[in-house]
Symmetry: C2
Subunit: 403 residues, 2 copies
């Protein structure tokens, strides 16, 4: 005789309600996992489509405690959380994945660099700098230009400055340091390609790596993903090895995205994100198991799914309208007429320069696949910059100043 | 200078909140389409995961009018609606897709048969029967056994009876006709395989067909989908042609699923559904554009997406626990350990015989792909009936009597 069921669905709380939470929700629906969101506004990308939304600040102990109380595990859409709050929740026995410790590293580029170096992994020369003097000394020692980064809070090219000489360095220091920005100085690297490798890791250490992807960046913002990255098998294997070392080294749980430079045939680690990441969006259609599903599996300590590619070539193009671009909703039907392209819109309000969605194409030939995705993206958001495997190293490290 | 956006997301109302609405919702999230559900309970499969749910009866004019008022188009999770209500909404200028006229056909197997025959399409011999006399006469003329069906309300083998002889026929008629069941008599067909073809059709007539799929049925309930169906190219082409003829003939909008028998090398039409259908679940991972996305595109009169298969072989196994089965939640982690299988749980309460989810595998070899999907399904819901390409013709046409 069958037993009456006493099973209940797994429950995952997500802090933040951007597009990463939105796409995680799609995977949760398939797996029968209940998602509770902590959003700051009901209009946020994921809050618009989720049945269980609480409003509250991501740094609020009370808000996170209520979320953790209702859920089997709490995870994150972004890093803008208070690590002290996360530690208190862990001390209260709550399941925070990734952990407060991992989130502390993910929040801070200075800590990241120190960890990578301690693990013996390849990074550009770097140094946290507290004064204009330190910054100028670094440049004199390592050579100009120098890349200066805000240790916290930067993303999509924000909080990154390329300093041509000592005068520029002093100018930045004079503006940033009194404003409380903790700076990190890095040697400028002549980058041939930017790459990313994603790892999904369970609490006990089981992990899978995704195929290495090229991230085409313009002014520090990822515009396109090309998978598999057009590099040698040895580079791909090395990237996966680096990713796994970092995931183990910082005790990551869930998706860890590691951004890499390929410079003169050598990999250097740029930075990481301890959550699903824009560089993994190709995996939704492109891999057997998407980054979002594997993030949920890892956070719930379930077996991880295959990351194998579903096609020889996968291309993803972000929808970031330029100054002459438009809202992707305006020409959506025309874009859907481009055969073999999957469209993802995030339902974020239109603003030039804002990432409003992405499109993905699968195919046999990398050039044809990329061209197809670009065609749909141009219909959706307006003209794209010319196709290139990589813009100049200077341009891709220059952030949108102070934005 | 860029225009400020005045675009708004498309809005689709769905009558019913079962798993079909749930999976449609996943596609709507990707396309940035707002979905409003009309559910009968907040615990229904789709209502559990949708941000916009109204409670109301699917046959209520007021409930549907409010839904239609809020949406660009109204579509359906099931056929259990009042066609008179739909006609009134159409007369009031509301956008009902598929139309009241199409829904009338979808609701009624007698009307379906009459339409198929009028279109010159191949169907088993049939006759609506109003008396025991009519039913027995049909059997005497066409030969026993006869298949009797309730013209309305039957699904998953319910409302289907195989009548061995005149005595059984009189017995059924004596029970069913006074209870108000309108009966349809059909010649019994020695079925070699059951197949299904899905069409997505826009209001103006543009249409695409999905790859023909074999539907492995037991006691009238679809258990497995095997795509592409192991039949000749000529049969596949004929099935697609039949599907398109029917879609045009009944003016379908959205997905139309046509179930077919292959009997002695010849296709015969069984019945249809004018909505996303269980026989199309393989398309979520298996096709470039899923039936759910193409349903939304069609309902919104947007260009339809490619239906090409993503792999040489796709197998879907429904999760229907038998008397010794269990809730798929119980062993979900183990099932996720079967590599290369996508799990879909509908979050419906456990009950033996209830369709609680499905799993899909893609692969190169049909037998290996099917075995992989079956392995995951057995972990999730318990022992499956032995693998067969098709159970006996009698068994698959026999419904769960009167259930």
């Amino acid at each position: 005789m069958q037993r009456e069921s006493a099973e209940r669905a797994a429950r995952v709380g997500i802090v933040g309600a951007g597009q990463l939470a939105r796409m995680t929700l799609q995977s949760a629906i398939a797996l029968g996992v209940d998602v509770h969101l902590l959003a700051t506004s009901p209009d946020e990308s994921a809050a618009r489509v989720c049945a269980n939304v609480s409003l509250g600040a991501p740094a609020s102990y009370e808000a996170l405690a209520a979320l953790a109380e209702a859920c089997d595990a709490v995870t994150f859409d972004h890093e803008l959380v208070d690590v002290g709050v996360l530690r208190r929740l862990e001390q209260a026995g709550r399941c925070i994945r990734p952990s407060a410790e991992t989130m502390a590293v993910a929040q801070n580029k200075g800590l990241q660099r120190a960890r990578f170096a301690a693990l013996g992994l390849p990074v550009p020369a770097f140094q946290p700098v507290g004064t204009a003097r330190d910054l100028v000394d670094f440049g004199e020692r390592e050579g100009w230009p120098v890349v200066a980064k805000a240790q916290r809070g930067g993303y999509d090219g924000r909080g990154v400055w390329v300093l041509a000489d000592a005068a520029t360095a002093r100018d930045l220091a004079a503006r940033a340091i009194p404003a409380g920005v903790e700076l990190l100085a890095e040697a400028w690297v002549p980058v041939d390609r930017e790459l990313a490798v994603l790892i999904a890791r369970r609490p006990g250490g089981d992990a899978v790596t995704y195929p290495l992807v090229e991230t085409v960046q313009i002014e520090g913002i990822c515009r396109e993903l090309l998978a598999p990255a057009p590099v040698s098998g040895a580079i791909e294997a090395e990237a996966r090895r680096i990713g796994l070392r970092i995931a183990d080294g910082i005790g990551a749980t869930g998706i860890l995205a590691v951004e890499l430079f390929l410079a003169k045939g050598r990999l250097l680690i740029n930075e990481l994100a301890a959550r699903p990441h824009n560089s993994g969006h190709f995996s939704i259609e492109g891999c057997v198991t998407s980054q979002f599903e594997n993030h949920l599996r890892a956070v719930l300590d379930w077996p991880l799914g295959s990351t194998a590619l579903r096609a020889p070539s996968v291309a993803t193009v972000n929808l970031i309208p330029g100054p002459n671009g438009w809202d992707p909703l305006r020409h959506l039907p025309e874009a859907l007429g481009v055969e073999g392209v999957s469209v993802h819109l995030y339902q974020k309000g239109f603003r030039p320069g804002r990432k409003l969605g992405h499109v993905t194409a699968l195919g046999d030939d990398p050039a044809e696949t990329r061209a197809r995705a670009r065609r749909a993206a141009e219909l959706l958001a307006g003209p794209l910059p010319p196709e290139s495997h990589q813009p100049s190293a200077i341009s891709h490290q220059r952030g949108a100043a102070d934005a």
